[in-house]
């Protein structure tokens, strides 16, 4: 079988997000003999083209415009509709990120198309593309397909592995001229709170704190550990409700659902809502002084004790590991 697949790449803070390579890899899975075209949208993004080709894209389309510097629904929707019109793809894959979640359903409505959101796996059964996605924040999963027409899905970061870099690959890069009008949203300001920090959804390592951390200050040792591991800091609802940290860090059924390689739960008891948001992580470490805490039921490794005793030692030891000791 062969399908022509269009995927949307995404850049942030002057770099391509890893999920861009993951949607290319996902596109490869369904393209068969067909091609994968990657679309770059932004103010100045053409320089990312090479990377996309080296990681599997057959062709890169570049849509540049000063009004595309920051994502807005109207502008990006118009670009995508114009490209879909000219390329007539059989399948469209968009990252399940803040902008992808905002954009994809609108496109689907405009195209009267089905859409499978937040996909973590893709398989082909005969001619049909079957997507796996979590429901109830990962308490269960479902397999879905689009009944007819455009095969359309958003792909969750960190789940479908990107392809290896192959610097011998070559492909065409094509500019797309875009016509933007009637943009209804005006961006006044962007307050960066995450500068230099790893995004939770894409983090390979997450150090998350709960009520046991006791205060906003108590998160400092967690941040140190996350820094050493190149990871991100998360939190339980309890910690957010107690105002130890911002709600944007919350992991759980309300909040973010994450699947890092390593999840270190610190002072988190493990309410069912929290477990839903993190229990599909590859390896889970729990640190808690309550030996009976439910978090230990899902943890691969449990450390029973005072987190303020354990964390500094753990951070020191990881430092040694990273230094190659």
């Amino acid at each position: 079988m062969s399908k022509n697949v269009l995927v949307l790449a995404e850049a942030k803070d002057g770099e391509l997000r890893n999920v861009s390579f993951e949607v290319v890899a996902a596109g490869k899975k369904i393209a068969g003999e067909g091609s994968v075209k990657a679309l770059l949208v932004g103010e100045s993004v053409a320089s990312f083209s090479e990377q996309l080709i080296q990681q599997g894209a057959d062709e890169v389309l570049v849509a540049e415009h000063s009004d595309l510097k920051t994502y807005t629904t109207d502008a990006y929707k118009q670009v995508l509709l114009q490209v879909i019109e000219s390329e007539s793809p059989d399948a469209l894959l968009i990252p399940h990120t803040s902008s992808g979640k905002d954009l994809a359903p609108r496109l689907a409505a405009k195209l009267s198309s089905g859409l499978v959101s937040d996909v973590v796996d893709i398989e082909e059964v005969g001619e049909e593309v079957i997507f796996t996605r979590p429901i109830y924040s990962g308490k269960a999963f479902e397999k879905k397909s689009v009944s007819s027409g455009l095969v359309f899905a958003t792909v969750r970061p960190n789940n479908i592995p990107a392809l290896e870099v192959d610097s011998s690959r070559s492909g065409e890069t094509k500019d797309v001229s875009v016509d933007l009008k009637d943009l209804r949203t005006v961006i006044k300001d962007i307050v960066k709170k995450t500068s230099g920090k790893v995004d939770l959804a894409e983090a390979k390592v997450i150090v998350a704190g709960g009520r046991g951390v006791k205060s906003a200050d108590g998160f400092k040792p967690l941040e140190e550990l996350a820094d050493i591991l190149g990871g991100a800091v998360g939190a339980s609802r309890g910690a957010c409700d107690a105002e130890y940290c911002d709600y944007s860090l919350q992991i759980g059924q309300t909040g973010k659902v994450v699947t890092p390689e390593l999840y270190i739960a610190v002072g988190i008891s493990g309410a069912i809502q929290h477990l839903a948001g993190m229990s599909n992580s590859k390896v889970i470490v729990a640190i808690n002084k309550d030996e009976e805490a439910p978090i230990f039921d899902v943890a691969d490794y449990g450390l029973v004790g005072d987190l303020f005793d354990i964390l500094p030692i753990l951070t020191e030891e990881f430092k040694k590991v990273k230094a190659g000791a």
């Binding site: 629904t73 109830y136 390689e261 691969d300 490794y301 590991v321």
Partner: protein, 257 residues
């Protein structure tokens, strides 16, 4: 001001999920208003209190959803509307739901529509943006602050932890994110009043829709539970010993560092 909230009845987040005959077993489960929709209802009531006007809550579902609509009325909404799916096949998807909502809204005058940014059961977050597109109005998703002055809306959005401050004009659809507000609990007088507030049920005929136009665009071929996580090892000893053991296991057994 004409304020509308689109809401969903969902499983209580405390519930365990079981699969029976390929479906999520709802037997004996507690249902609630989707937690993100509670932020939408609260914000709608705050808007009404500040600007005068009326709050209408709308849901798509069967008569079971009347309970959650009544809860929204008890919180302070004025009217409730149930778009009844009784005439539809089992499999409805985001296409179906958003088309039904759009058919309803095409006959309403609205300034703002609020919804949750995602439902905690299905987790797709498709219906609200689809609805905005079908109504050809602007949308701002995952909002954490909303100010309305005349027809101008100033909004703060949570964009993966950063805050984006944007301006736009009404009519507008917004989806609500945690941090926007603290939803109130229904008061006892609120609950009493809610019983007398109007709750209208509309079926496909009332919406001038045909079953064939609403056929789902996606199909679900399987539902399953993830493999049960086995409790792992609890490490022994003093903190330093536990840490040493952990590092060893992460390197040699789990191979993640």
């Amino acid at each position: 001001m004409n304020i509308f909230v689109v809401m969903k009845r969902t499983f209580d987040t405390e519930e365990k999920v079981e699969i029976k005959d390929g479906r999520v077993d709802e037997e004996g489960a507690e249902f609630v208003i989707n937690p993100y929709d509670e932020y939408a209802i609260e914000e709608a009531i705050v808007l009404k209190e500040a600007n005068d006007g009326e709050v209408t809550v709308v849901t798509v579902g069967d008569e079971e959803a009347e309970k959650e609509l009544r809860t929204a009325l008890a919180m302070g909404a004025d009217k409730a509307v149930l778009l009844d799916t009784e005439d539809l096949d089992d499999e409805v998807d985001h296409y179906t739901i958003s088309e039904m909502l759009a058919a309803y809204f095409k006959n309403q005058e609205f300034d703002i529509i609020l919804g949750g940014n995602v439902a905690v059961d299905d987790g797709a977050g498709q219906v609200a943006p689809r609805l905005a597109e079908l109504l050809d109005i602007n949308q701002l998703t995952t909002i954490t602050k909303l100010d309305i002055d005349g027809t101008k809306a100033t909004v703060e959005r949570d964009v993966e932890g950063d805050v984006e401050v944007v301006e736009t004009e009404l009519p507008l659809l917004v989806t609500c994110q945690q941090g926007l507000n603290e939803p109130r609990y229904p008061s006892l007088p609120g609950i009493m009043k809610a019983k007398k507030k109007p709750l209208e049920t509309l079926d496909l005929d009332d919406l001038d829709l045909d079953e064939d136009e609403l056929e789902a665009k996606t199909k679900t071929v399987d539902r399953f539970l993830p493999p049960e996580k086995q409790a792992g090892k609890k490490l022994d000893g003093e903190p330093a010993e536990q840490v040493e053991e952990l590092i060893k296991l992460l390197r040699t057994e789990a191979k993640v560092i």
